[in-house]
Subunit: 421 residues, 2 copies
């Protein structure tokens, strides 16, 4: 059976009836934020659907979760409620179902043209963690910073390495990024440089949105971890490589990252991604028992990054990567995170780390693509980049290709503004 | 003039009329959380005072800030409002002022015996950052982990190094800590160890609570930084040294810390600490201009850590340190944090890092005190410790000694429970 909606969805649209990603939006500037799902060129307002009494199955019928201004309450409900919501929404939007299709007043109240609404961050993010789960990225960074002998740290193959990121500066796609100032390595006997970063980079990542979370002191079992993950977004973990290189010993990245992290507005659920599941890479050495999955899976999500300099009509594709290149899986990341008893809360964000593939064309950041600025990258129209320049826009997109439909993430974009004086 | 309250405050009490630290409490289990200040053995309920119309000065008279269940709204108001509140509360509690003293009904409604109330976290903490600002601690850790040649990283004297911590596992004093499980270094060709941490440690720290914060992209000027800091709490940054040592390269501390961080319930304001200001250590090399203060100051806060094994009637003092040993000052920490444009929000927590002094008796954690377990520490009653054992209670206290009164922080305590099976 091919699922078809009464709403016209172009086969190239990321937001098919098979997708139904969740977000938060305002229909107009003065109106309250509310929860919606994307369908083709429209947003379906779930507060209107809930207000009409159409979430009438047991788990959601008395819930206030769709009358909130963030997804956190819905995230806390867990997978059975998410499945119920998906089934209801998919049915209401299908071509054969008259309830919404034939109710002009309800359509008027609940469907908004996507280009008319203002999108907001989909969840209140309490804590943001960033992993380091692509082996190719770890190898390339290690080679650049520490040399070609043993570029991957010895612990890397035993645990999904991660650091805590900054939650306050997580931004919605489309927000401009001010080039950060900061310290970097002194030259000779001079004091350290302080000024605008000279090595501003993007990082192609995805990030999981945590569902119900876990209590402090209660590690999550590997077999139950997938049920704590609601879905995925695209993420650009903007990085100032010069600030990072000078500050990161011994306590890790700090100001080289915390000036801004951009995520895409629509959370694509694991249910929608399930048809695109694929085997994860073989792990050698075998992970410790607490990280051993019955079946280790990734998702086949094609990822692309474009850089669009000011004045260019189109962006230049600089990398084509894929979520499937990740070595450590989402459940392994989550289980490791809680293995010491650390509590995750609904809405927490777990970044994958830069997703680099095995080839020159699939590297996930300029640090790797230009080998720390040594091999400048040619864009269209004669532009050349070592790192990002002011007014450059970076556009990340991600999509799964189904049979006659797509399950996509839209884009995650940001433009560089000059540093403050 | 000696300030005196109509409430009997013992000269050894940490909570004199000169102190007036802020916290959040419930008078009874079923009652709503509210904001209070500590005075002697009592808590003054500011919602009752505000409800009686006694905050009648311009900045606070129409404010809802004392009808909240956290201090965040009051923190956002900034120093002029904090000064106004302090003046009002100090006046209302003074011996000469009849308004509260002679109003039995209002006293009944607003004053609660401290041992009858339940204390809560004083603020909703969005982000928690931990600095590394004691030179003695940096030197000792560097020597233990990397050897005696150049133990302090070259960047350390140029910038207040820090990392992002985990906000979800910040706990109130008195909360038990479950010994974390985790990975640590493999021995020989074995896989890494996985099990209960064998090197569980405390870290003696203090932490600043951020007031109004700053907008993303707007670094804070060094001359204005102090006005963004509301006050200080005691902090125990529990650390699993074995987990930390194995995981921390290259991205810094993660699971070795995120199982719990304990803070004391009462925020002592910078106004109350001002009489105890003292010169900060001379900084050589001279810091870069953005970190250069007109006058660089610390506070003379005597700090003490006791370990109390199960069955012991009293704790054994294991260290006596002082806030004044910090090399990087609070304004420098805050300014550096925002120098890349990173936004701080009201209630954010900025830990100082372990506060070790120059002497053997002033070291701020067991890693240093026992030199990574090589020199066990003798407690009372014949107990000996390399690291913390199950059922040990760690009690941090901090206090400034005035002329006939104290401005103190009370205690920050936590007891170790055995790891989960």
């Amino acid at each position: 059976m091919t699922l078809k909606s009464f709403i016209d969805v172009h086969p190239d649209s990321h937001f098919s009836l098979q997708n139904l990603p969740y977000g938060v939006f305002k229909p107009g500037k003065e109106q309250k934020a509310r929860i919606g799902v994307a369908i083709g060129e429209y947003v379906l307002d779930l507060s209107a659907i809930a207000g009409a009494g159409l979430f009438n199955e047991p788990l959601l019928k008395d819930s206030e979760c769709f009358f909130q201004n963030s997804l956190n309450m819905f995230l806390a409900l867990g997978r059975p409620a998410w499945k119920e919501a998906r089934a209801t929404i998919q049915r209401l939007l299908s071509a054969d179902e008259p309830t919404l299709r034939d109710n002009a007043s309800l359509r008027e109240r609940s469907l908004f043209s996507m280009d008319q609404v203002e999108l907001l961050l989909p969840a209140a993010i309490g804590d943001y963690t960033d992993f380091f789960s692509s082996m190719h990225h770890a190898k390339n960074c290690g080679t650049i910073f520490r040399g070609p002998e043993n570029p991957i740290p010895v612990n890397w193959f035993h645990l999904p390495i991660a650091y805590h990121g900054r939650a306050s500066s997580i931004l919605l796609s489309g927000t401009d990024i001010i080039r950060p100032r900061g310290q970097s390595f002194p030259v000779g006997n001079s004091p350290p440089y302080f000024g605008p970063s000279l090595k501003l980079d993007f990082e192609l990542e995805m990030a999981a949105i945590v569902g119900p979370g876990n209590e402090l002191g209660k590690p999550v079992d590997i077999d139950k971890a997938e049920d704590l993950i609601f879905g995925l977004v695209l993420m650009n973990d903007w990085s100032a490589r010069d600030i990072q290189a000078w500050e990161y010993q011994p306590l890790g990245p700090f100001l080289g990252k915390s000036f801004g992290t951009t995520i895409s507005p629509w959370i694509v659920t694991l249910e929608a991604l399930e048809p695109f599941a694929c085997d994860a890479p073989k792990q050698e050495p075998h992970p410790l028992p607490y990280l051993t999955e019955k079946k280790s899976k990734n998702y086949d999500i094609a990822l692309e990054v474009q850089i669009k300099p000011t004045g260019h009509k189109e962006g230049s594709v600089v990398t084509k990567s894929n979520f499937k290149y990740l070595y450590w899986t989402l459940p392994q990341q989550l289980v490791h995170h809680t293995s010491n008893g650390c509590n995750l809360r609904p809405g927490d964000l777990l970044g994958t780390g830069t997703i680099s593939g095995p080839d020159r064309e699939s590297l996930g950041c300029l640090l790797e693509l230009t080998w720390n600025g040594q091999k400048p990258l040619s864009l269209q129209n004669g532009a050349v980049r070592k790192f990002l320049e002011d007014e450059d826009e970076v556009i990340i997109s991600g999509c799964c290709q189904g049979n006659g439909y797509k399950v996509g993430f839209g884009t995650c974009t940001g433009r560089i503004l000059p540093a403050l004086l």
